[in-house]
Homo-oligomer: 461 residues x 2
């Protein structure tokens, strides 16, 4: 790409350039993502049905496939100013270390205490819950980024926050728990005996370290069984991708300022919220035929929903209390190996991204965790940021693509999402530092076993 | 102060506005800080003597009381761009929460993986060591911020880094250790049996959790007993304050842009590097009679060198292997209570700051740790940054001063240094969250006991 102005190491937008609207990618999709279904009737979830679990404004956003831009409420906008606009960084040092002609940029979302992009949606969800007059919200958290983000948002708005934390994370990350407690949240290891579904899972799988799917089930049950509470979710949902579009809007505005157009856009994908947010405006251009981009979703080889899953209706949670979502899934009973330390352990994938992937609008790649941590270490040493294991999946593929450019001599422009920092992931880094990290890839039988339990959609054959 | 332009939440200088020179505050002091003395002869340390321990360029900077501005070498300048300019934040949310008419600003130095301002001097010291052709450096670290910063700098320059980490921190902060290891450093808990001085201290105080003073002694011994190594120190020294002047220069440039002049400048003080850096250009104006500022050093009540120490020559380290420095000191054998969780546990204070304090150019205040963590919690909840315990000392006094303004109605402008984040300090936060934090203040006898062991300067009565 031809560039006229010299590109600084970090591009900060002015505060006045912070996007005032979220961009709803679904509005530009000709074939919309498949709707959430009521597992009892097999019919699309209605606004009223969704409003039992989610607060009403969020349920509306979940169902809205048409409104292209949605105003960011003033209170959320003010909160965003605490940590946004987030920097777009030109990875000069990484380029030099790799000796690549590629130009590498990353959008860094880790400059806030939650340590990731999750705060973008947490404040939105807490705000709408508060506006509806609710007392508090319940949620699940895996690595703890989402729980921390929600705790921060709730503390700011003076709302109650109840977090079900995947037990293995709760034990491996006591400090994450303490950050949430500092922000006033109540944190319970999941599965717990505080819910029916938790007790049932504990009976069936005694000693389990839990999973995101279990924790979601518990948090949903806690929400519907308490007056004045709703459940909120940090990824997967359409509404979350909507809020996260602020990442891509800022990234695109920063690149546009310098006349830079990426050739390849790379993001890690667990439930899909960061990737969906980062690519939103670029994918919009692609859908409208205005531009072309290679877009790559990166997932762990130990939890490969895009690359080895099936595109089908499945439960969002292990306990099967949520609506059915059509997505690339490994089956809601799939549990990644306990060896897996790198986050992104959700069994499914955002319906929006799943549909786009199915349409061939993006690629997916799975990477093994030892190579992910090697990329993390290399990045940390030259770019000065110790990345989250999740983000490091994107780093791995960004480095791989840059090294391909070194071979071919192509001066491609690569943009990737650096979703967060790894300061609470040092148990995983310690494993890597000690050479004790292993790669585990599920067998075809492992995956077939959980896919065999996919739900039957009522009314379908 | 009258302000014309609307002040954004965060003021980012442009990359081109990053200071190109450090400012040497000593050049503007009529009465210079007292020189380091050779403990054997009682005479000022010469460049040659200092060059045995420090690399030569740093030894020069240590002794240079006259050069007002020193060029930042190009390589350091490029490294600074990784995480600088650092933001100056207007604490709108904190002001609102306090209901104060005061205007509060903080210079935030935590947006880098070392989690603090320490990186500003670490890269400078590692750079000069590299330039001198050395293989590596040794150092001590307490809370781990300095050790992490030095590890990052050494990884970037491909130098060996050996860190002696105060044992109690090593045990309470295993994750800090892993960050340093990820950056390739060798980390040893101090006191250790790898040095003569370590073995001696272990004999005298078996089971001790260590102290900064002990760790310094070990690191110095390790440096002088290995070919191609020098010792580097993260605070206290003149050279370190010089490098840290980048904090104050940026803060002042950002304030000047909006025509803002602070009435009160507040910084936490352990060895004095952050405070010395933050106040440098402001103190310069004050020394030259161009402006007046109230400057407040905040220290823990459990380690009160300014407020309860003596201005005298003392050893910089417990093992008495370093030169003598004239400073406000509690005595080099002083050990803060093991209850003390809030950092800033050095027995002495920068000679430059000590001299300025003695001249009445600044005030000092000591605060108890429970109130420090209460301030930290309040700040985290409204400003979205979980602060380092060290930084929270400054937050405490900034809040106190803002609340005074609320009583008097004065619209004072307060600037404080937010030196870093508390992500690796969650053991301390957990204590606070559980209501298990206690305040311990040393008795007059405690202090008298360690002050009784102040060294006699040869040739003095």
């Amino acid at each position: 790409m031809s560039q006229t102005k010299e590109i600084p190491y970090k591009i900060y937008l002015d505060e006045s350039e912070l996007p005032k609207q979220w961009y709803n990618l679904r509005a530009d999709m000709k074939k919309k993502p498949a709707p959430l279904l009521n597992p009892g009737t097999g019919k699309p979830m209605t606004l009223d049905e969704l409003s039992v679990v989610f607060c009403r404004e969020l349920a509306k956003q979940e169902l809205d496939n048409d409104t292209k831009f949605i105003d960011i409420p003033e209170e959320i906008y003010q909160f965003y100013k605490m940590y946004r606009p987030a920097p777009l960084v030109r990875a000069y040092f990484l380029e030099r270390a790799l000796g690549t002609p590629a130009k590498i940029y990353y959008k860094f979302e880790g400059n806030n205490t939650s340590g990731s992009h999750k705060l973008n949606s947490a404040i939105a969800q807490a705000y709408y819950a508060k506006k509806q007059g609710l007392k508090g919200v319940t949620t699940e958290t895996g690595a703890g980024q989402w729980g921390t983000a929600l705790s921060m948002a709730c503390a700011f708005l003076d709302m109650d926050c109840q977090v079900y934390m995947v037990k293995v994370s709760y034990e491996q990350k006591p400090f994450r728990r303490e950050v949430m407690r500092t922000y006033g949240a109540k944190v319970t290891p999941s599965p717990s005996n505080t819910t029916n579904v938790g007790r049932k899972i504990l009976e069936e799988f005694p000693g389990t370290g839990g999973s995101l799917g279990c924790a979601i089930s518990e948090a949903v049950e806690a929400a519907v069984s308490q007056e004045g509470y709703r459940y909120v979710l940090g990824s997967v949902l359409n509404q979350v991708l909507l809020h996260q579009s602020v990442i891509g809007l800022e990234a695109k505005a920063a690149l546009d300022k310098y006349g830079v157009k990426p050739d390849i856009i790379i993001g890690c994908a667990g439930g899909g919220s960061n990737l969906g947010g980062l690519i939103a405006p670029f994918m919009g251009e692609k859908l409208r035929g205005e531009a072309d981009y290679r877009i790559i979703a990166v997932e762990p080889a130990s939890c490969p929903s895009f690359t080895r899953g099936t595109y089908a209706y499945d439960f969002c949670d292990t306990g099967a209390v949520c609506p059915l979502a059509k997505m690339y899934t490994l089956g809601s009973t799939f549990m990644p190996s306990p060896n897996h330390a790198g986050g992104l352990r959700y069994h499914g994938m955002s319906s929006t991204l799943s549909e786009l992937y199915d349409q061939g609008m993006m690629e997916a790649r799975s990477v093994e965790q030892t190579s992910v941590f090697a990329a993390a270490e290399q990045f940390a040493r030259v770019e000065g940021i110790l990345p989250a294991p999740e983000s490091s999946h994107a780093i791995r593929v960004a480095i791989d693509e840059a090294l391909k450019c070194k071979e071919t001599g192509e001066e491609k422009t690569i943009l990737f999402g650096l979703t967060g920092t790894g300061y609470f992931d040092m148990v995983a880094y310690e494993k890597y530092n000690n050479g004790e990290m292993s790669d585990y890839i599920p067998t075809d039988e492992d995956i077939a076993k959980s896919l065999a339990k996919l739900p039957k959609v009522p009314g379908e054959n």
